[in-house]
């Protein structure tokens, strides 16, 4: 990239470097002093200002149109907004004219000038490499004579202080290990994490890995900063080396494992997970990692087959209920649901069968039943629901059992809009009478309510319920029959 001389000049004139030319300095200095005065008199200044209206208009009215967030959304489509912008400018220039001009000596913004200047200095490493060739920002508020030695003469304390202020400061003179460590210690004592990191960047560049690691091992605060820094810039290699050195095996393993999140391709992700299996996780986590690998392996197989089945269009279940998303990278429970939905009747031998999943991943009974129930209920396959809870004893008698409690079963069925006939069968199986009555009332299982009231000999509740059923309905009739029955000895 070559610049013409004119370009060059323009560049220097308009870039950040301009602020640092020595000529300006006195001017800048006086401005800063002005600004300080301005700040101190700010209270009265702001209070007396009659320009409050302008501020109010800026405060948000709750109407998003015209807001910055709103405008950004618009930028994409509308490029001809400059006209509008001009218009707005005209409209606003009147009131805005009353605002203090940022360049005037009493402007609020000039108050920040000092800080801004501090902001735009050379980089740390710039300062480290060469100090004589370029012109640097003069230190504010110091006589000119002192500017020459920003590089070498700062004390340890001043160096760290300057770093904290974002000022330029060479670290190059800290060459002995002892100096470097003192510098680090000073930074840590200052508490500013940004400065600690700045020193660590310098140490990382000027110390061998082993020495750096060794010294940080006994400096926990700095160590945490380095670890976070490495995570942020994505220097995975050095991070893993560090964990290895510190013998933090579990963090090493987790940190390696975390990388799988960045791999999109399922096959590659699977292969990567395979490399995680042998890592030094805790015993418990090792099992989870193994399961993660196995799960993705299964999902890849299932996905390949099902995608084909679906596109072939021969299988009824896929035709009726097209898949909404791929099963890849879904949690185990979601996979089980999927499998209960599309592959319920498959033999245990196939990878996609629910029973196979249950066995492979040792899914607890409760979880299995809950998921299968939700899937079959969604398909309105009440027969399967029925079978899920039916057990036969050795004499061949059947009995209904639910590891999750029938009140939950009822709720799930209701969520999947099961018909009343199905619902009431399960409401009836709820053991606790109060819960049963509540559920029956909530889900309008009239027969259950009526029968339960009768069994409880609770005449009052039955009478009350009569008003809730439709006039002239079979339920009303049934209630009337019961109420007029002389067989029942009502308790109230």
């Amino acid at each position: 990239m070559s610049r013409t001389k004119g370009d060059e000049e323009e560049y220097w004139n308009s870039s950040k470097f301009k602020a640092f030319t020595f000529d300006d300095e006195d001017d800048e200095l006086s401005q800063l002093k002005e600004s300080k005065r301005a700040v101190n008199s700010l209270r009265d200044f702001v209070d007396d200002d009659e320009d409050d209206d302008d501020l109010d208009r800026v405060t948000w009215s709750g109407e998003p149109v015209g807001s910055i967030s709103w405008t950004i959304k618009e930028t994409a489509g509308n490029s001809g907004s400059s006209h509008e912008g001009r218009e707005q400018k005209n409209r606003n220039s009147f009131s805005y004219g009353q605002l203090p001009k940022p360049t005037s000596t009493y402007s609020l913004s000039s108050f920040f000038k000092g800080r801004t200047r501090l902001g735009s200095i050379q980089s740390l490493s710039d300062a480290l490499s060469d100090t004589s060739a370029k012109s640097y920002a003069p230190e504010l508020g110091r006589p000119k004579g002192e500017h020459r030695d920003y590089s070498n003469d700062w004390s340890l304390h001043d160096t760290v202080r300057r770093l904290r202020k974002g000022k330029v400061c060479s670290l190059e003179r800290f060459r002995s290990l002892q100096d470097k460590l003192q510098l680090l210690e000073e930074a840590v004592n200052m508490h500013d994490g940004n400065v600690i990191t700045a020193v660590l960047i310098f140490l990382k560049r000027t110390l061998s890995k082993e020495i750096l690691f060794r010294e940080l091992e006994v400096r926990q605060v700095a160590l945490r900063h380095l670890i976070h820094f490495l995570k942020e810039i994505g220097d995975q290699k050095l991070l893993l080396d560090l964990f290895r050195f510190l013998d933090r095996t579990e963090e090493l393993a987790l940190s390696h494992y975390r990388e799988h999140l960045n791999i999109q391709d399922p096959e590659k992700r699977k292969e990567f997970l395979k490399t995680c299996i042998g890592l030094p996780f805790s015993a418990e986590d090792s099992a989870h990692i193994q399961d993660h690998y196995t799960l993705l392996e299964r999902q890849i197989i299932i996905e390949a087959i099902d995608r084909q089945l679906e596109s072939a269009g021969q299988t009824e279940i896929f035709r009726k209920h097209p898949r909404k998303a791929s099963i890849l990278n879904m949690p185990l429970v979601t996979t089980l649901f999927y499998s209960c939905f599309y592959h319920y009747t498959e033999a245990e031998g196939t990878f996609s069968s629910p029973v196979n999943l249950k066995k492979t991943f040792k899914i607890p009974d409760k979880q299995y039943v809950l998921t299968a129930l939700a899937a079959r209920a969604k398909l309105r396959s009440w027969h399967d629901v029925d079978a899920l809870f039916t057990t036969k004893n050795w004499l061949g008698y059947t009995k209904k059992r639910a590891p999750i409690g029938f009140h939950r079963v009822v709720e799930i069925l209701h969520k999947n809009s099961a018909p009343v006939q199905v619902l009431q069968e399960y409401v009836n199986l709820v053991e606790d009478v109060d819960t049963k009555l509540n559920l029956a009332t909530k889900f309008k299982c009239h027969d259950v309510v009526i029968d339960t009231c009768r069994d409880l000999k609770d005449r009052q509740q039955l009478v009350a319920y009569r008003s809730k059923v439709d006039k002239g309905s079979a339920e009303e009739e049934k209630i009337d029959v019961i109420l007029s029955s002389s067989q029942i000895r009502w308790k109230n």
Binding site: K16, L55, V58, I72, S81, S109, L254, Q367
Partner: protein, 614 residues
């Protein structure tokens, strides 16, 4: 309802000046790049920016088009590009990518990066590594205090929580110190300082250093704010993890208040559009219900609606002149009130609907049981069922953390089984989330062994890595003991209730949690303010394993007026919840104080959990 402040309560300082300062500084920075330019704004900065500036102001300073910083190719044809960003590595890569693409295409433009609230050396290092250092100019926009309300200043730095409490990175401490320095420059220094927590202590020290360095600026200014209290979020995770039941907290939990405003969707508006609504003291209806327990809100709103109706009805039987007066003087106010009323009634309805659906009653019951420490088995199986049914992953995680902290960690068997089920329900990659939660002390396994001696806790704080051998491992998990039960007893956090707790006439701060629990954070503040020191609280501080980090720093000054001594700035490092604000506002009304809140960001249980999730 909406208790008035005591007549002797001090006035709040006017914080609108902060907005103005921030705006003027931004304008100044924009003028540093004269001529037309396109402005790229980081998404997280857009709402804060909206609070202090408008598009027309940007346009006045020759901003042509506005773009969001995102991973899309840049279409801008401007000769000057300005980036307004948080100091994050990924932003640097984005900018580097853009500049290097231009370079390859032989295109020269001017680039300016404005870091808010400050730049980090790590960012500059990336710019340098990418070979664009010098091609872009860097500036800082020290916009670190956004007044969200008359008594609430937010730094809008939600990442503070994860950076410090999970990663141990102290990068924002300087920002906090600078923000406090700005406040003391404008409103006078704070003669009485108290604090609890490691970060609190460091922030205080660094702020003090700044004050000393720039002594001249604050000297001689009368202190307007008499007390400042620094508090680390990890001193009290419990409060932040609870479901909120005061109106503002509930609105936050349900709809997410973002930068002081909320998006009410069609379900609230009962029309097909959404509305962005600013929630602060200027909304007269909101201001009266924000701190109320939700159960009171309905009654209040319907009373209000009836009054409104009555006022409208007055126009019947008016003669022409009266009618003219009515229309010109009252109608506008009534209409405004009407609009606000219908808004909040809509929000209440929507909240009710959502909460009924998720069985809120049962959830609250479980939380209260955890806080009081009974029926632990039942609560555990309630959480288990949550997980099995794939109810929201954040909700399940939150309950597990609440169980862990109130019980000093889960018993190992429960920990394993809940974790396994969680991974099965929500995905195996949450292994990483569990590791994070353990590191932050939010979700741990009970370690065998009894209470710590002071020595042990000291050792465990110094050595938290495995490098030093097995013994440290045991210590590092012990060090996180929350001792909640003991603290709760000591500070009487679970009020003894004879009969019903009257939520309409709250008698203590527990009302923000339906009378079941006084927020620990607020109780500590109350106790310290009462004593003006930590005296007599040694045992509590020890139980919080925070003995080294509880401090007081009193400047003997006769300049402090009695009014200023009842004005208290509370600095929450790592975020605070709306419930905590409500509780402290209540305390203020009781005692004749006024509280001002400075938080790194507003938070709630969901945000805490999301910050820890991978």
């Amino acid at each position: 309802m909406a208790f008035p402040h005591r007549p002797d309560a001090p006035e709040l300082p006017d914080f609108s000046m902060l907005k103005r300062l921030a705006r003027d500084q931004l304008i100044y920075l924009l003028e540093q790049l004269p001529g037309k330019k396109d402005l790229f704004i980081e998404a997280d900065l857009m709402s804060p920016l909206d609070r202090i500036a408008s598009v027309s102001i940007l346009k006045q300073h020759e901003v042509d088009k506005l773009y969001k910083v995102e991973s899309k190719p840049v279409l801008s044809s401007s000769e000057q590009l300005c980036f307004l960003v948080r100091p994050r590595i990924k932003n640097m890569r984005y900018i580097a990518n853009l500049v290097n693409t231009d370079k390859l295409a032989g295109r020269t433009r001017k680039y300016k990066v404005i870091f808010s609230p400050q730049k980090f050396y790590a960012c500059e290092m990336v710019l340098e590594e990418e070979g664009i250092y010098g091609d872009v100019s860097c500036d800082e926009w020290a916009f670190s205090l956004l007044p969200l309300d008359v008594d609430l200043l937010s730094m809008e730095l939600p990442e503070f929580f994860r950076d410090y409490f999970l990663e141990g990175d102290q990068r924002w401490i300087n920002t906090v110190a600078h923000a406090l320095h700005l406040l003391s420059t404008l409103y006078g220094s704070f003669p009485n300082c108290y604090g609890l927590g490691r970060c609190a202590k460091m922030s205080h020290e660094l702020w003090r250093t700044l004050e000393e360095e720039e002594d001249g600026e604050t000297k001689g200014r009368k202190a307007e704010i008499g007390h400042i209290f620094f508090l680390d979020r990890d001193m009290d995770f419990v409060t932040a993890l609870c479901s909120q039941v005061v109106y503002e907290g509930l609105v936050d939990d349900t709809f997410r208040i973002k930068c002081g405003s909320v998006d009410f969707g069609p379900e609230v508006m009962s029309s097909d559009r959404s509305l962005k609504v600013l929630l602060n003291a200027e909304d007269k209806v909101f201001n009266e219900i924000r701190n109320e327990h939700f159960s009171n809100v309905f009654g209040f709103l319907s009373q209000k609606a009836r009054n409104l109706q009555a006022q409208y009805d007055r126009r019947r039987g008016m003669d022409i002149k009266q009618m003219k007066n009515f229309v010109s003087q009252e109608l506008k106010g009534l209409k405004q009130e009407h609009r606000l009323l219908s808004l909040h009634i809509g929000a209440c309805e929507s909240i009710m609907k959502k909460k009924t659906k998720q069985d809120f009653q049962e959830l609250i019951k479980t939380e209260h049981a955890l806080l009081e420490g009974f029926n632990i088995r039942e609560s555990t199986s309630y959480i288990e069922e949550h997980i099995d049914r794939q109810v929201s992953p954040i909700e399940s995680l939150r309950l597990m953390c609440l169980l862990s902290i109130t019980e000093n960690g889960l018993i190992p068997k429960d920990y394993r089984s809940l974790k396994t089920q969680y991974l099965q329900s929500y995905g195996p990659e949450h292994l990483l989330t569990f590791s994070n939660l353990r590191r932050a002390g939010l979700l741990t396994e009970q370690a065998p062994g009894d209470a710590l001696t002071a020595m042990e806790s000291k050792v465990s704080k110094l050595v938290t890595d495995k490098a030093a051998g097995k013994i440290t491992d045991a210590f590092s998990s012990l060090a996180k003991r929350s001792n909640f039960r003991a603290i709760s007893k000591k500070l009487n956090l679970i009020p003894r209730v004879d009969g019903e707790y009257d939520l309409k006439v709250p008698r203590d701060m527990a009302y923000v949690f339906s009378g079941a629990y006084v927020p620990l954070s607020c109780r500590i503040i109350e106790q310290v303010l009462e004593r003006r020191s930590w005296q007599g609280l040694d045992e509590v501080v020890r139980l919080l394993t925070c003995s080294e980090f509880a401090f007081t720093d009193i400047t003997k000054e006769d300049k402090a007026s009695s009014e200023s001594l009842r004005l208290i700035l509370v600095v929450f490092l790592g975020g605070c919840t709306f419930s905590e604000l409500s509780a402290l506002r209540f305390l203020g009304r009781e005692k004749g104080y006024r509280f001002i809140f400075l938080t790194t960001a507003m938070t709630n249980s969901a945000r805490l959990m999301e910050a820890m999730s991978e």
